[in-house]
Amino acid sequence: MSAAVDEAKAAGKRIKLEEMYLNMGPQHPSTHGVLRLGILLEGEVIIDTIPDLGYLHRGTEKIAEDRDYMQIIHLTDRMDYLAAMNNNTGYVMVVEKLLEQEVPERAEYIRVIMQELNRVASHLLFFGTYGVDMGAVTPFLYGFRERELVLDLFEMVCGARMTHSYMRIGGVAEDLPSGFAEECKDFIDYFLPVVDEYDELLTYNPIFMDRTIGIGALSKDAAIAYGVTGPMLRASGVPYDLRKDEPYSVYDKFEFDVPTGENGDCFDRYFVRIQEMRESCKIVSQALDMLPPGKHQAKTSRIIKPPPGEAYLEVENPRGQLGYYLVSEGEPMPYRLHIRPPSFVNLQVLPDLLKGLKIGDVIAVLGSTDIVLGEVDR
């Protein structure tokens, strides 16, 4: 449209063009949390986007300096509230790194099972909300119906559906209840054909494909330069997955693929996450088969006091790589805990992606970044 305007101006016609500033405010059905986007428009085309964060800033890092290491586990639940198991695991792992603490093998397997189930739950929610963003309300209810089953499994294990606080330094809080393995296997058997149903319903729907293919493509070099991680990075063609490239916990014992996209557009990001659900189910069934007997938590001292030092550790969250940077001075409370949130770094890409697109694509692109504002703002 600007080309036509320039031509007209060159031809000597007087055209007055106004840039319109549209505020996609903090309260909006589609911003997946409290995010404010200031969008500069020229007609229907977006010139610039100015995200405004901080609506959910709760000062987690500052609070962490005043809590002891056990209490911070509960803080980490609330950041990316959709992937609490992964958040917990990253935090306890960084503390265990400083303490040089051994974790019993059974606890490691249980951690893997919980993390992968949480990945499934998180991606199911993404699937549902992305459908709603696109206007298809039905996948939302199907996704949540399956998610309820996963949350029931979590409730069985730790009593909570969302903010689990299940991990402990040295293992997990409690052993798996009896009957959990059977229920989990039943869920996996039930779930895998359902993902095929989702493909039929939304993935290969021509209208959906029309709205997501080719929109908001993030190139490989831009993704690496921005420090994007997780499904967004893999959709752009970089097969970097911490579980495969730098296996932590017992991930090196499982066979699974890392779904990678080609173009980095919205459809690829969506498709990578759907495939990841299938891979997570594979991992869970392998882990259930290989679950060794043993203790669920190693013996640690009553007051956790890591030696002075610092450590940095990353885990693969459903949204990307969640990093914990811990500086300890030998006290029962950390000196500094920094959380490197994947959604925060991923969201930086948004203004670049949206340049030149139309208003109707904002929701498609924003939904495909799959951010959680609790993590962006901490």
Partner: protein, 155 residues
């Protein structure tokens, strides 16, 4: 794991030195190098562009507040060579300024804004040096150890 030769080659630069610590746990995956504040831009470009180093991925950028000084901390990774390194820049507490690495790694954009917002460290050359989490008219930098909150109209 980055090889010792590469680390030693870096230390030949007078602005870069090994961190001197004793009896403190250090992450073996991330060898720590101290960099002078003025040289940050040049060192970052060198680390990204030189063959053998190829640190194209900025994993993390944050700051730590100590008594009397502050550290800006960079965790770097190379997607091609799979090695990691950690840089630390020491700045004082009065008017700390560090050159921005946003021209080198675009991912530093918001992370530097967050450090400015919560610590008060200014990044010279940053394209958009505004607060990011806290409101524009907030006084003070909360993550500093000496921050005292005065009740304002947000309370």
């Amino acid at each position: 794991m980055i090889s010792e030769e590469l680390v030693n080659a870096l230390i030949e630069n007078p602005a870069v030195s090994r961190e001197e610590v004793e009896d403190v746990y250090r992450d073996s995956e991330f060898p720590v190098l101290m960099v002078e504040a003025d040289a940050v831009g040049a060192v970052s470009e060198f680390l990204r562009d030189t063959e053998g180093y190829e640190f194209d991925f900025l994993k993390n950028l944050t700051a730590v507040d100590f008594e009397g000084h502050m550290h800006v901390v960079y965790h770097l990774y190379s997607t091609s060579l799979r090695h990691k390194i950690m840089l630390k820049v020491q700045v004082g507490r009065e008017q700390p300024v560090v050159p921005s690495v946003e021209p080198v790694w675009r991912g530093a954009d918001w992370q530097e804004r967050e450090v400015f917002d919560l610590f008060g460290i200014e990044f010279a050359g940053h394209p958009d040096p505004r607060r990011i989490m806290l409101p524009e008219d907030w006084q003070g930098h909360p993550l500093r150890k000496d921050y005292v909150h005065e009740p304002d109209h947000y309370d």
